[in-house]
Amino acid sequence: MTPTYYLLLSALLFSIGAVGVLVRRNAIVVFMCVELMLNAVNLSLVTFARINGSLDGQVMAFFVMVVAAAEVVVGLAIIMSIFRTRRSASVDDSNLLKY
């Protein structure tokens, strides 16, 4: 076994997250799938840091975590304010700009 296996796991997790973003209709679950994709990228960054023998990858993963935290806060606030006006957390119901 080589560290490449972690990259394969990361790729699988990323694809599952991407499929979830496309398939799920609940806005919060879509958001969780985005988090899963970010986590998958973090895993590959940590693996690259190990392969390269320098800590830069870990620092980048750290920054990704910070940005993800900020993103979650703002995104959940947006979802809540949409829910307050339209009484729904489904991404299908936000279709006022459709026609």
């Binding site: 076994m1 080589t2 560290p3 490449t4 972690y6 990259l7 394969l8 796991l9 790729a11 699988l12 694809s15 599952i16 997250g17 991407a18 499929v19 979830g20 496309l22 398939v23 799920r24 209709r25 609940n26 919060i28 679950v29 969780m32 799938c33 988090e35 899963l36 986590n39 973090n42 895993l43 940590v46 840091a49 190990r50 392969i51 390269n52 023998g53 800590l55 830069d56 870990q58 620092v59 993963a61 750290f62 920054f63 975590m65 910070v66 940005v67 935290a69 900020a70 979650v72 806060v73 703002v74 959940l76 947006i78 979802i79 809540m80 829910f83 307050r84 957390a89 489904s90 299908d92």
Partner: protein, 288 residues
């Protein structure tokens, strides 16, 4: 006088982690076992999140994935990130998700109706294709990669945390400063987005407005006098007396006023002091 425990502790604190002169990084058997346990667990968590109908179940499956990833970071020589993953992601972010789910989307389970026809099939094909492409290319391209390992970076100069801190405050200082701006913006944005104005409800009246309203209605301003406030009795049947000795009509209890006066004659006599008086021997029983 020195305690042996203090000696041991100070020796432990004084010793530096020894630099390891190993350049080539190998995957130990323990790490392989951990990977083959945690990797499928992480995948199962991700698939569970994808297929769970209930949004809360999805969140809990994602917690499984994130915990496994945290442990994977630790065995990948990133102990700091592993703990940050567990504390920040599973501790803070996922709990925030659960919090919002409980407030907003718990009962709104996913609709089964496809708004765009064939979207799910297309998404599944796209995902599988993407996974095959990524796994195939990465697996083929990186077969002969020799991992250098972080043994040196994790043992010299303060270890993993110390070296990450050094990098943060030297090479990545500008990005780190930008992070602070990002966090402040995110906090402000969340406050503004989640703020509920007082548009719907009328504002609460102040105490001054309440007083003025009461005087303008022209009703009684003070409180109604209570019955039986004088020394002889505290019965509700006893009316309050005004300063001139007359009965205050407002203190009369309407139920008692409506009853026949003969049924209350005993009470009236007691109040007037002409009727039954308390007997100090009454408690002794028949001997009195």
């Amino acid at each position: 006088m020195s305690l042996p425990a203090v000696d041991v502790l100070s020796q432990f604190l004084a010793q530096q982690p020894e630099p390891v002169q190993r350049v080539v990084d190998t995957v130990t058997t323990g790490e392989a076992i951990a990977f083959w346990v945690l990797g499928p667990l992480a995948l199962a968590g991700a698939l569970g999140m994808l297929f769970a109908r209930n949004a809360v179940h999805s969140a809990l499956w994602l917690v499984v994935t994130m915990l496994s990833l945290g442990v994977l970071y630790m065995i990948q020589q990133a102990p700091f990130l592993g703990f940050v993953q567990i504390i920040v992601y599973t501790g803070a972010i996922m709990m925030l998700f659960l919090f919002v789910l409980m407030m907003v989307g718990r009962d709104s389970s996913d609709s089964v109706v496809e708004v765009i026809r064939g979207q799910r099939l297309a998404a599944a094909l796209l995902g599988i294709g993407f996974a095959v492409l990524m796994v195939g290319s990465v697996g083929r391209a990186l077969t002969s990669v020799q991992s250098k390992g972080l043994a040196e970076a994790n043992t010299t100069n303060g270890g993993n945390v110390g070296n990450i801190g050094t990098k943060l405050f030297t090479d990545y200082l500008f990005a780190f400063e930008l992070t602070s701006a990002l966090l402040i913006t995110a906090a402000l944005g969340a406050m503004i987005l989640a703020f509920v104005g007082r548009d719907g409800k009328p504002a609460r009246k102040t105490q001054k407005e309440l007083v003025e309203e009461r005087f303008q209605e022209g009703k009684r301003v003070g409180s109604i006098p209570g019955p039986g406030v004088f020394a002889t009795a505290n019965s509700v049947a006893t009316p309050a007396l005004l300063p001139d000795g007359s009965v205050s009509e407002e203190s009369l209890f309407e139920v008692i006023e409506a009853t026949d006066s003969s049924t209350l004659s005993d009470d009236l006599a007691e109040v007037a002091g002409t009727g039954h008086q308390p007997d100090s021997h009454a408690l002794k029983g028949s001997e009195s």
